[in-house]
Amino acid sequence: MSLNSVINSTFQFVKDRFPVEKLNYHSMVEKKEVPVHKMSWGYYTGGLTMFFFMIQVVTGLFLLFYYQPTVSEANVSVEYINKYVAGGSLIRNMHAWSSSCMIFCAVLHLLTAFAMKSFVKPREITWIAGVLLLFITFTFGFTGYLLPWNQIAVNATKVGLQSIEYIGEYLPGQLADVPRIIRETFQGEASVGQSTLGRFYALHVVILPLTLVSLLGLHLLSVQIHGMSQGVDKPAKKSEKFMSIFIFKDLSLWAFIFLCLFTVSMCIPFESFLPYPLLAPYNPLGSTPAGIKPEWYFFFVYYPLEMLPFWVILLASMILVGVLILTPWIFKGASRKTLGFLTILASLYLVVMTIFGEQIYELFKH
């Protein structure tokens, strides 16, 4: 294959995914139709994820007014927001609850898109951008977890960063140093401290949001250009206009979800699920309290990591990431029935590990 043909096929690939003739309001909005069938609810999961991201941005901006990213001030400033800022505890709770909801919806969106085979040509770029968006969302969760600078935040981050370094033990030659370099880059000093907090803060409030917005732009543009995927094997008999029937429904759903989020944030402090010793300000001289664990959305990898050898999880994670990125090509010929079955299996694993992971781990330990 000559260089010329590679360039030509790449150009054709991009041209097919972003056809210039479709880059107008008429094609992308007015003409757009949304199929109506039994899996139609799946079309709303992406919008909901974006809605929770918008809540994250707004509440995060309010929190920026008061939060101090220094080891001496971080926890005090969070306490100040909770206790003395008008509506501070509500805003902080909305930020915490919506972060969990965003991750839940992002995973649900990925699973439904997979089951509906929404990744086939010409939607490969939409899929890959979506997978990258999911990874960024998880990174948001990881970096945001440290910011309150309490016992669980710092100790869980220590464990998380240490896990990155372990990867080096399984890599050959000079590659073995790469995970250590990555950990040191994120950590910034010998142990988790001021440099780590500063770097995580920069990642959480500047680098990740900018990356996410850029990728989200690409993802949404791609969705609008190609429209909603068929979603089911037989073409849907009914369809509805994106503008304004689908938008109507989407906005109404957002309004309902906002009310639920507002009520829950008003009534249940997110941290009340954790034992209070874990919420105490981090004490570098004190002992590590019992019960340190990551946020619930990492349980699917955390508990297996506790039960199985590290290399098993590492290998499984690498395969999973590879399969997710290459899904449009690996599952190109798979039927929706097969994809649906795989989705059910994956969902079962996620639900069981998230809800019963701790019990399974206890059983395994004894």
Partner: protein, 215 residues
Amino acid sequence: MSFSNTETVENSKDLKQIDLKLKTNLSLIAFASSLALSFMTANPAQAYPEYQAFVEKNSKRSINCAMCHINEGGPVGNSKGQIGSLSEEELKLLSKARIAFEPGSDVHSPILNEFGNKIISAVGKKKFLEYKTSPEKLAAALGNESDLDTDGIPDAQEYLDGTDPLNKFHGEPVKLFWINLNRCKTHVILTVLAVISINFGLLSLVKGISSIKKK
């Protein structure tokens, strides 16, 4: 020989002196030990792990000494809120708290937090020590009137739930939900109305844009 006799005499004098010194030192040590022992027996300087074990078993939540003490590590040590760090004035307050055997005393122990002082004040040291063998009785003795953090969950219930009785943002989530929903119902109703209005406005806007485009 004489030399040795003289030496023996001198030696015996020395031995007597040493014996005397030893006796004095021993009696001093014995006095100090008995003083320390009597102080420790009368004033145990440890927290009461029976309560912690009960709460953790009952609530299935891990807790630490900070539920009742100022310092999360308990009362022994030199850090803030621990006996070793107390001033003379604070030691007097501590002694006063330690003899508050009956309920109703004004207790301001410098090693206890507000909830710890409340317990001693409400049930008295005597009963508190009795409940060590049945820590569940402490909740009943505390009653449901006191709610130091004003989160709506009584302190006694927070003790049973293993949640922080001094933090209004910490409590059993389901209980907090119903209490706060009841407290904030006006806010919730107003928000429902606001969201419905905004949504109606937005939908009308979308409808308008859509009809303009059609024309």
